[in-house]
């Protein structure tokens, strides 16, 4: 209350306008509170606060995901020359991991862009997870039981 009075004292016309606007806006809220605010304190009814905290942690997770995507991208970029100059099992398995993860996250972004509706999103992401798992398993199997990714590319190109 005092804050609004102070504002109106500083800037007369603007302050009056602010006071009227905010009081008009606040009126429905005040009546709503009077009706419902009987059995529990106001703090519990700030329904936004729990979703605000949830939104904060969701935002943090999304931010970390973004950074993770860039880190894997740079790693994959470095694995290119590494595969050329130092072919072998270390690079083979690193490539399997980096390629699968980069692809998984990339397709995930495509799904996020084009798939809408809670059940469809869940299905699509489940399918992607399955595909990525099989891809990683297949690449590791290839690295273990066959020539390995680096050698495979070299052989393919020697055609």
């Amino acid at each position: 209350m005092a804050a609004i009075v102070r504002i109106s004292s500083v800037c007369h016309r603007g302050g009056k306008l602010l006071f009227y606007r905010s009081s008009l806006l606040a009126r429905p809220l005040v009546t709503q509170q009077k009706d419902q605010d009987r059995s529990y304190p106001l703090t519990a009814r700030i329904h936004g606060s729990s979703s605000l905290r949830a939104a904060g942690s969701v935002s943090k997770a999304a931010s970390l995901h973004w950074t993770g995507e860039r880190v894997v991208s740079v790693l994959l970029l470095a694995l290119g020359p590494a595969a050329y100059y130092f072919p072998g099992p270390a690079v083979d398995y690193s490539l399997a991991a980096a390629l699968t993860l980069h692809g998984h996250w990339g397709i995930g972004q495509v799904l996020t862009d084009y798939v809408h509706g809670e059940p469809k999103i869940k299905m699509a992401n489940a399918g992607l997870f399955l595909l990525s798992t099989v891809t990683f398993a297949g690449l590791c199997y290839f690295n273990y039981n066959d020539v390995g990714i680096c050698k495979a590319v070299a052989l393919l190109w020697s055609k």
Partner: protein
């Protein structure tokens, strides 16, 4: 007083009594997340069977637009190719050199061979080079429109050159 109000607003709490609801108004944050609102938007549109406004068919295509969707297209294509390779590795009985010799024995001819090599090399090359361009954007650089077009042309030219060079190699 204002400081007090700001502190409580940030924490999303409001300890005032109802008759001071006018102050609490600033302390009540949004009830829904952006994700929830987006889902509501799509659910409503689907339920009402609303047609989608034309967008891709009417907006003038620009070079950055085409490069962006090509980046996505090559990414999806390469990812699909890798997954297909991994699946075949798990399912097919023989080993890699066996199948390579099988393909060799088809005697495809040099022109088609070069085309196939280009078909593999170009998506890899384009996606990698444009990916580097993306990483520059992520660091905050190169957003001015002339820069966007210039870096775009560089990526296209380098992709084609490196793919052709890759065909000639070995």
């Amino acid at each position: 007083m204002a400081l007090l109000l700001r502190t409580f607003t940030r924490q999303g709490t409001c300890l005032f009594r109802p008759q001071f609801g006018i102050l609490c108004r600033h302390a009540v944050p949004m009830g829904t997340t952006a994700n929830e609102e987006m889902n509501t938007f799509w659910a409503k549109n689907n339920k009402l069977n609303r047609p989608m406004s034309p967008h891709l068919t009417i907006y003038k295509w620009s070079m950055p637009m085409m490069m962006s969707i090509t980046h996505r297209g090559t990414g999806v294509g390469l990812s699909g190719g890798i997954s297909a390779f991994a699946l075949l590795a798990l399912v097919l009985p023989g080993n890699y050199p066996y199948y390579l010799d099988l393909i060799h024995s088809l005697s495809v001819g040099p022109a088609l061979l070069s085309l196939a090599k280009f078909g593999i090399a170009f998506p890899v090359s384009y996606h990698t080079l444009n990916g580097i361009r993306h990483l520059f954007w992520d660091s905050g650089k190169g957003f001015k429109i002339p820069e966007v077009y210039r870096s775009g042309y560089v990526v296209i030219v380098l992709s084609i050159l490196t793919s052709i060079a890759a065909i000639g190699y070995m």
